[in-house]
């Protein structure tokens, strides 16, 4: 078919068939507050007026009481590892060198944990109850995104008592 030229490329054997979706996303008003807090280098949550629990990030309502969470609360930069996973498996699109630790972190003052990357600790030394702090990007790099938090790292404190986080596993 292409014998006219000697440097012709070989036969076609593969076809790129990407499936893509472009969409506009809005996180809503409550999570926008959380994201804008990240842009200022702090964790913002909301408290339920009925049960008093503090959610971070807040969805704007309390899932237990079904009422809007209207009180904004600034959380600590320090929290507790409630549980974790050491990731050893490579996968497509992986952006972090393995092995790494993916931890659920309960910030001081919060009643909801969220997932964070844990670094500056060997993977065999991670444990439940470990006290950690957020490491932020440089101030001029802060954006309304969780990418503003580079990772969490251990702080020099005794581990939290299991009783303090057993409700959040």
């Amino acid at each position: 078919m292409s014998d006219e030229t000697t440097d012709a490329p070989g036969p076609v054997t593969m076809l790129a068939t990407p499936i893509g979706l472009d969409f506009d996303f809005t996180p809503g008003i409550a999570q926008s507050k959380f994201l804008r807090g990240l842009e200022q280098g702090k964790f913002l949550g909301q408290r339920c007026p009925v049960c008093g629990k503090v959610y971070v990030p807040s969805r704007g309502s309390c899932p237990t009481d079904g009422v809007p969470t209207t009180e904004d609360v600034e959380l600590s930069n320090v929290g507790t590892v409630t549980t974790y996973c050491v990731v050893n498996v490579p996968f497509a699109g992986q952006s972090i060198e393995i092995p790494y630790i993916c931890a659920q972190i309960l910030l001081d003052g919060a009643n909801l944990s969220f997932m964070g990357l844990l670094q500056e600790i060997p993977t065999d030394q991670i444990r439940m109850g470990m006290r950690v702090e957020a490491v932020w990007v440089e101030p001029d790099q802060l954006t309304p995104s969780l990418a503003s938090v580079r990772y969490f790292r251990p702080v020099d404190e005794p581990d939290a008592d299991y009783e303090t986080y057993k409700e959040y596993l």
Partner: protein, 153 residues
């Protein structure tokens, strides 16, 4: 609360699949890259375009690749007045079933006719390839079919 309090972002989610095309469709796509259209012979000497590995009526292996086109006949068509972002043309066009010269089956592609009043079933059209430097071995190597003897849109 005013909606402006809520953030807004554009997201793009994509699965970058690729697939192997096999010897028959591979030969067809290689032909497109080289600026040629190929079909394959099936049962009773019919010519199937785009080519398949098996004859759709008998299930037997298909035979030799044969060159078809570059002209053909519009068997059926539907006008797209408002092309979507991912459509092959960004100006109004027709999706059309085109039976290429030498073929017994019709192939789906687009006709850049200029307007729905300038296209009719039975019209002759001819292939318009992208420049050779842009062709990669894909259906989009054909930019469009255009009315035979006309300039197109």
């Amino acid at each position: 609360m005013p909606e402006s309090e809520a953030l807004h972002a554009e997201h793009h989610l994509e699965y970058p699949y690729s697939r192997s095309v096999g010897p028959v469709i591979g030969a067809f796509l290689t032909g497109l890259r080289d600026g040629k259209l190929f079909g394959v012979t099936g049962a009773g000497g019919t010519v199937i375009v785009p080519p398949t590995e098996y004859d759709p009526t008998t299930g037997d292996d298909t035979g030799e690749m044969v060159e078809v086109g570059p002209g053909g006949v519009v068997e059926s068509w539907a006008w797209v007045s408002h092309p979507l972002r991912k459509h092959p043309l960004q100006t109004p066009f027709a999706w059309a079933l085109i039976r290429l010269d030498g073929a017994d089956t019709a192939m789906l592609h687009v006709v850049d006719a200029g307007g729905p009043d300038k296209l009719a079933t039975g019209d002759r059209v001819t292939v318009k390839y992208r420049p050779a430097s842009e062709r990669i071995g894909a259906m989009a190597d054909i930019e469009a079919f255009v009315p035979e003897g006309g300039a197109g849109a």
